[in-house]
Symmetry: C2
Subunit: 295 residues, 2 copies
């Protein structure tokens, strides 16, 4: 039984599956729990809500070590404490399965705010973002390059690129920025889980608008990815535009509203056939689709 | 965003995993969806709440036919319409996994009632039950006897024992009885998902009481199991006492309260070291534990 102070609850659910979504060769158990919490907390924040509780349904093989489950629980608790104080795991399920999966349902309170949907962006709005872009994807690329079999290579990578890998393995998206954006009058918002282009396309289609990204606004992101990962310019730009898993907040604001703390301008909202442009040129929506993925 | 009329929500989650929890050789897709909804609706009812929405997180192999997913969706909708009008699927997730799983989170409203916990039973209370006992387990036993490989045998069984198999594959627990029991003053309640003895033991331990089942009160259940399944007396009694998956509501009521419609007396609540007895004799708690199961 969970409080719903304003008579409504925000609900979201997201599953992490061993194989498509994570590898135990790369992630510590606590990182699995942290990421499962952080991604769902970002989904609540993207509605403009404050997370109030998580339900966690774990499925695991009968041979699973209890320490793995304890590590996942520790990571869930740590992410809640760090990213959404006052939120914690309030219930769940544990059952046997051939595949290790972590299904989290997050519950949030709008505290009287109107929910921020994907469909409210209007021509003339400013497109803005809070969080990092491309680092999570760059970290994943280095992990794929290291592979799963070579334990020493993974350990070396974890030691040498700790900050970058944390963006992929235990991200800290700006959860606080969600309610702040809602209070500031955000017209549309979502968290960038599947890549900037794909998620921007979702706002463009739901709102019936054109989103025009400014290439110059991404310069710092591209440079940060290059510095942290050693990727070349093209690969770094691809990570920033299509990489996904950063879980920052992509939002639109009326032009006359000062951008709230944590947000920076990425581009403009214009009228026209729904599309995402880069300095006025069309971009195909590329991003993460678990059923289309090769990995 | 879901309404929470009295400023609280009841939450529960339960996962069904292919293999441990269901076989596609036995269940139609719509039955999988029906059962996933019904079991979670029973968990909400057991708190004394009215279900208001389901979140459904499906994981499925990339080779999964869309018709399977559509069938699951149809079954979810049909179970909500039949068992909890006004409730429906309000969101979810779909992702790729080697293992087909259906993780449902159910949300409910207490509509101002106090939640009914497991811990409120008091000596002198009446132990009562709404729903069937043993039929789901008897149906499962016939399915195991038929096996998975012999498609004709399964089809014959489905034709000849349709009503019994429905108790296992697409159960219709008395969801309405949950809020009714709460209004009548139930002191403790849960749904019998893991077997009468195991679930009764949970109430006994949480409440610090002895639950004494009356063997005569189970006569009709044993007879119904024998008639529907052809099992002998001993196997039928084992199904009634330990079988599980009936998802009826086991509740305790003060002795001076008339049992609400749908409930029948199964026994008494007494003081003493927490235990479950049958006509005064101790019974070991046997029931379903997915990690201990042989299947």
């Amino acid at each position: 039984v969970l409080a719903a102070p304003d008579g409504r609850v925000v609900l979201t659910t997201d599953v992490m599956v061993e194989g498509p979504d994570f590898r135990r060769a790369w992630s510590l158990p606590a990182e699995l729990g942290w990421k499962a919490a952080a991604t769902n907390l970002a989904d609540v924040a993207a509605m403009g809500a404050r997370a109030t509780g998580l339900l966690v349904a774990l499925t695991a093989p009968g041979s699973t070590q209890v320490a793995l489950l304890e590590g996942i629980a520790d990571g869930l608790a740590a992410a809640c404490a760090a990213l959404a104080p006052g939120c914690g795991v309030v219930g769940g399920d544990l059952t046997r399965s051939p595949t290790l999966t972590i299904a989290v349902t997050a519950i949030g309170s709008l505290d009287g705010r109107a929910p921020v949907l994907r469909s409210g962006a209007r021509p003339g709005d400013v497109l803005a973002y809070a969080g990092r872009l491309g680092l999570a994807a760059a970290g994943l690329r280095l992990l794929f390059d290291a592979g799963e079999a070579d334990v020493a290579a993974v350990q070396r990578l974890r030691a040498e690129r700790a900050d970058l890998l944390a963006e992929q393995l235990a991200p800290s998206p700006p959860i606080d920025a969600g309610p702040v954006a809602a209070d500031a009058g955000a017209t549309a918002m979502l968290d960038v889980s599947d890549g900037l282009l794909l998620d921007a396309t979702r706002i463009a289609r739901a709102s019936g608008v054109v989103l025009d990204l400014h290439r110059a606004a991404l310069d710092a992101d591209v440079a940060a990815v290059r510095a942290a990962s050693g990727l070349d310019l093209q690969a770094a730009l691809a990570a920033v535009l299509g990489g996904g898993e950063d879980h920052g907040l992509l939002a639109c604001f009326p032009a006359d509203v000062p951008l709230p703390v944590g947000f920076r301008r990425l581009g403009d909202v214009r009228s026209g056939e729904p599309a995402v442009l880069l300095d006025g040129d069309p971009l195909a929506a590329a991003g993460w689709d678990s059923f289309a993925a090769e990995h």
